[in-house]
């Protein structure tokens, strides 16, 4: 057992639950309602559901899932394009496992693989560079999804491909940034939250400092939170505490992992290869400068430039993932939830991503 396991110790966790309940009772008494916190991060959504904390606190704190699942926020057209890439002959598609079962308008990558397309799940993007090196007569495309934590690793893959002078390696970039989507959500006024639980691992790269705009411009109390049960609970505790004291601070409750400056090496590498771009988000249309794409001088690694993929406008479905990721509705409010839409037959990405809110509700909170 290592030092870090103290955060998951069961006794501490149970006592932490009690502390959170006690504090939020105070809030309830003060305001006559529950405190509303948004878990910006999909891993938080999952962890709250899987540990049972969300269910346990349901009468005490309202936790709303946010836009923090990279698969879920990707708009349908991008997903269709990535799947369509697999139809190009002599192409190997490399992807994180997360993308495999995401439903495209026609079919998923899993289905494409089943049809005989060469699609490989890798644990590390660098593995895909090795695959390109070992298959010089094939095109290798990595599906580059992810937030700020993952983007530096994509940059690292490009660096490797550059060093190896590979001409058969590209990335299909469809990355997302946290600050622009938070601004967009807060600006829209659609989502009513008292405070934010900020994504612990994205913050590793960004640093605590990068959230100052929340305090300075939006005055939203926010806590950078870890993922173990006790950390989840202290995150909530400190958020409610800020609310009670009406302080619009940003607290770093994950200081052993998140530094004030973030990871400068990672950010520098990322900036070497990528530049800002307006990205389309599911259910939100384009948000200015909300993602990263290749700088012009690295266009040779840009799968979007190399391959001419045209996809039709996706058909409208009853899937409400767009609202789910904005925190406007709960999965149970979607008519398809657990009817037409289940993890084995998902309609939207939120049902299939391991961070998807609908998946979390289906797997861990469904009762029937």
């Amino acid at each position: 057992m290592n030092n870090l396991d103290i955060f998951s110790e069961n006794d501490m966790a149970r006592r932490s639950v009690d502390a959170v309940i006690k504090l939020s009772e105070k809030f309830k008494k003060d305001k006559g309602r529950l405190p509303v916190l948004m878990e910006v991060c999909g891993s938080h959504t999952m962890a709250f559901a899987k540990t049972g904390i969300k269910q346990r606190l349901s009468e005490h704190v309202k936790l709303i899932a946010g836009p923090g699942c990279p698969v879920c926020v990707t708009d349908q057209k991008s997903i269709d394009a990535m799947i369509q890439l697999s139809e190009i002959p002599d192409t190997i598609i490399c992807t994180f496992g997360d993308m495999m079962r995401v439903p495209g308008s026609k079919y998923s990558l899993m289905k494409a693989k089943t049809e005989g397309k060469d699609i490989r799940v890798v644990y590390s993007p660098l593995e895909s560079v090795k695959i390109a090196q070992n298959n010089p007569d094939k095109e290798v495309v990595f599906l580059g999804i992810g937030f700020e934590t993952t983007i530096p690793v994509l940059a690292l893959a490009v660096r490797d491909a550059e060093n190896l002078e590979l001409s058969n390696y590209t990335i299909w970039m469809t990355t997302k940034l946290v600050e622009p989507v938070l601004r967009s959500l807060l600006d829209s006024g659609e989502v009513m939250v008292d405070g934010l639980l900020l994504p612990g691992h994205v913050s590793v790269v960004l640093g605590k400092k990068s959230y100052d705009f929340l305090m300075n411009e939006y005055k939203v109390p926010s806590v950078i939170t870890g993922f173990e049960p006790v950390q989840l609970l202290t995150g909530i505790y400190k958020s409610v505490d800020l609310l009670l004291h009406q302080k619009a601070e940003v607290i770093n409750d994950y200081p052993h992992v998140v530094k004030n400056e973030g990871n400068l090496v990672a950010r520098r590498l990322l900036e070497k290869y990528f530049k800002l771009n307006d990205e389309a988000w599911r259910g939100m249309s384009k948000i200015p400068n909300s993602g990263l794409v290749f700088k012009d001088r690295y266009a040779r690694f840009d799968a979007k430039k190399k391959f001419n993929v045209h996809v039709k406008e996706p058909r409208k479905t009853k899937c409400r993932c767009g609202e789910i990721i904005k925190g406007s509705i709960n999965p149970e409010e979607c008519v398809l939830f657990n009817k037409g839409c289940t993890p084995t037959h998902p309609i939207g990405p939120c049902m299939v991503s391991t961070e998807g809110t609908c998946a979390a509700h289906y797997q861990y909170m469904r009762e029937e």
């Binding site: 993007p125 691992h201 590793v204």
Partner: protein, 71 residues
């Protein structure tokens, strides 16, 4: 958003380190944590160490929290 696991560093070489997560081991990249040393914990994401985990801070925040709980 991003799976991250603390992993103890057992051996360090150029841009790579052998790490241990509760007994399971793996070679991971250390490009983003050039200052990493044997004995450190790194936070692992997609095969890369993304930061060095500060164990002192970890203990401190836990101690602080214990105090809150014991209040």
């Amino acid at each position: 958003m991003c799976l991250g696991v603390p992993a103890k560093v057992l051996e360090v070489s150029k841009e790579n380190a052998l790490v241990d997560v509760m007994g399971s081991r793996m070679y991971v990249g250390t490009v983003f944590v050039p200052e990493v040393k044997k004995g450190d914990y790194v936070l692992l994401h997609a095969g890369q160490g993304m930061t060095i985990v500060d164990q002192k801070f970890a203990m401190e925040s836990m101690e602080e929290w214990r105090r809150v709980l014991n209040e």
